[in-house]
Amino acid sequence: MGRSFDTIRFRAEACDACGQCVIACARAKTGTDDTSRARLQILGGGTEGAELALCRQCTDPQCAAVCPSASLAKDPDSGVVTWEAETCVDCLLCTVGCAYGGIASDPVAGHVAKCDLCDGAPECVAACDRGALEHVTASRLYNTQHEREDLFAPGLSACHGCNSELLIRHTMRHIGRETVVAAPPGCIPGMGVVGYNGQTGCKVPVFHPLLTNTAAMLAGLKTQYARAGRDVTMVALAGDGGTVDVGFQSLSGAAARNDPMLFICVDNEGYMNTGMQASGSTSYGSWTSTTPVGEHMQGKSGDAKSLPMLMMMHNGAYVATASTAFLEDYHEKLEKAYATAQHGFAYLHVYAPCPTGWRFPAALTTEVCRRQVETNFVTLWEYTRDGGLRFTRPVEGRRPIGDYVEMIGKYRHLDQTHLDVIQHQVDERVAFLRRFAAPAGG
């Protein structure tokens, strides 16, 4: 099957046309400061904003299709559209094929020149301190993931647009077979992970504990496997109900005892598979079937309980929050959590906006996840006993909370007063977390 490849992302809104990337490119590729010879060009930069001319490393490159000397080709390993000096006849047909200004004549060199991603370490990106150029390497993650075994059956019946299937497949591909999975009542077993009619949807041992005893059962199983001399990882795939509310007592005990396990809470802010009742994790102002909108109530009147903070306060060996809009960040945390779970308690809190229960279009889930982070509604951080709390993806210039709330139907009834309350909660929560964050370099 096809592979994914690295790419350079351009965020025009962050670019002030300072030109450092162009200079870096000219130096790297021509050994001079002649920016006209650089392989990327920044244009404009006035009130209308900056624009970019750069090779897109197309999957189906037109420059190569119209090349009469077969000097351009998509490299199957790196994904770079490569150019061969020896066979190029300098006919410039490639420049007529490309719609992006991504290949152009270098008049000094006397031939065309184009971006080659600097062998995987683009100098332009390194030179950009505005955050306008980003070397997106998520492709490496996907390529690795696809080489690994999917430990769930095809055809899990999650709702359209739900990110928890993506999450659990990524997670178990990474963790592998030497695992026992506990899936307490919630959406994850509901979508078929524990199976139907005596057949399991999971290719490793999976069981369906009570909402109340997930962590306790995993602790017991770990002990039993250890006695038998087997090194097996205990994983909980639980919803917020089974974590924040009903499952909290046994979870708190396991965290306090530092029982070895990886407990993953997939937080969709409520009991979504049983009719969208509110949970302790439901956010302020949310419509649910138990926090309705009417004459007397305007959705949930209290704030959500923050389980990740509670787990940090238990001095859990590894505690982190994650978002499926930032899968590289998630995988880094998963790796640490998995390593920790071999000997101690690891807790991952992953946010799962629910298109069905929150009422937003199924196609927008990842965008909703991203907006959660961009507004600081969700903060991405990790906690270790040695390192304390560390923000893994700090947000500069957070967007107003209204940018997030407006995407979601369960907040539709909110007015500015409510928004001000949520904004205050968000800012207060970030300020609170900052007090736990280790000072830079400390």
Partner: protein, 419 residues
């Protein structure tokens, strides 16, 4: 009788793109390419560079045998298509082999025109359409002192440049008023002509050859219409090309006024089960009408569309061919996109040039939208101009900036369009 689901005749850009497009959609159908050429696939566009020595014949193949294996396609060389029976879905080859096909793509390209000149058929002469032609011409240069090129089109001018560079005494005879009449206007052509004259080439425009006569040792004497006689050791005939359609004799497949196979916006010919693409076609032109496009980028587009349509893939109809040409003489590049020569009261034409520096620009707009451009001696992204033409992008808000700095302004527009 050999049998194939897809039979593709030809082995250059259109044919190869079609194979790729078919395989994107149909992984299992049998695909067979048949070509009269004895070489692996190559581009006719590379041939002048083979003549000059810049491209080595062994390095010109566009695909190797590994590619055909990976595509699961059979490649039959040195066998030309000589006849078709569209009712029986069979194709007859020169070797006598009969192929039964499910779907047929005709991508047979074009062949050089031999002008109607008395005696021309009998004298030694060169053309430039195949790799063997190019190698033969390259070898002949060494033994020649004088050369005459008939026709100042892209092929003729490129060949002439090679001959001049090789040190030959070169005369170019063109019946039009100036060289490259299909691509450049008088001003731009004059600049190109000067570059040749400065290197000692003779450019005779508005002239034709009345007759040709062979001399000894391969020499040829040409009598021009004005009575002048040109003696030469080497004669290159580059009087244009015509679609290669001889195999259609006896069929009712529709041909256009210029002799190309008529195709619609999906590259279908007038007969079910038969498609055509590339230089052999006469099909939709961008902006309306029908034309023989005859350029490499059109062959790529048309081959892709034909392949998709043959395989049953969903394909948006062809935008129509748009002229796209690059030309370089003695290191100076010229790019011409769209209707660059257009004249008319409804057009907004901006032309400026400086013969001293060799810079020249002709930008043609209609209703604030770009319809064509010629740019010589300065950097331009022809591909972006092509997009602005195809998308009919309104340039009115940026017209002054565009006329002052077409490349940067076009890049900004395109960057916004794709973001």
């Amino acid at each position: 009788m050999p049998d194939t689901d897809y039979l593709i005749v030809g082995s250059s850009h259109a044919a190869l793109e079609a194979v790729t497009a078919i395989r994107m959609h149909d992984h299992s159908g049998s695909v067979t390419l048949v070509t009269r050429d004895r070489h692996p696939p190559y581009s006719p566009t590379i041939l002048p560079y083979v003549v000059s020595g810049r491209a080595k014949p062994e390095r010109v193949p566009l695909r190797d045998s590994g590619w055909f294996a990976a595509q699961g396609a059979t490649f039959v060389r040195e066998d030309a298509l000589v006849g078709l029976d569209p009712d029986a879905f069979t194709a007859r080859l020169e070797s006598g082999a009969m192929w039964r096909y499910g779907k047929l793509l005709l991508a047979t390209g074009a062949r050089p025109v031999v002008p109607d000149i008395a005696g021309l058929e009998t004298v030694p002469r060169h053309v430039l359409r195949t790799l063997d032609d190019a190698v033969a011409l390259r070898e002949a240069i060494g033994a020649a002192r004088r050369a005459v090129v008939l026709g100042a089109g892209l092929v003729g001018m490129h060949a002439a440049e090679n001959l001049v560079t090789a040190g030959l005494d070169v005369t170019i005879v063109e019946r039009g008023a100036h060289p490259l009449p299909l691509y450049f206007g008088a001003t731009a052509a004059a600049m190109i002509g000067q570059a040749f004259a400065a290197r000692g080439a003779r450019l005779l425009c508005g002239r034709t050859v009345a007759s040709a006569q062979g001399g000894g040792d391969g020499a040829v004497a040409l009598a021009l219409d004005d009575g002048e006689t040109l003696a030469t050791d080497l004669l290159v005939v580059a009087a244009g090309v015509v679609p290669e359609t001889g195999y259609l004799a006896g069929t009712d497949i529709g041909l256009g006024a210029a002799g190309g196979i008529l195709v619609d916006a999906h590259m279908r010919t007038t007969r079910p089960g038969i498609w055509a693409a590339g230089d052999v076609t006469e099909g939709p032109a961008f902006g309306g009408g029908v034309a023989v496009s005859g350029i490499l980028p059109s062959a790529v587009d048309q081959g892709r569309i034909a392949g998709m349509d043959m395989a049953g893939d969903r394909v948006p109809p062809y935008d129509g061919a748009i002229p796209l040409n690059t030309y370089a003489a003695f290191g100076r590049h010229a790019v011409s996109v769209g209707d660059a020569l257009a004249e008319g009261d409804d057009l907004d034409v901006h032309e400026d040039g400086d013969p001293e520096t060799g810079r020249y620009r002709r930008l043609v707009l209609r209703d604030g939208r770009l319809v064509g451009a010629t740019v010589i001696g300065e950097a331009i992204d022809g591909g972006i101009l092509r997009q602005l033409i195809l998308r009919r992008t309104d340039l009115t808000p940026v017209k002054d900036a565009f006329l002052a700095a077409p490349r940067d302004t076009a890049r900004v527009l395109m960057s916004r369009l794709w973001r």
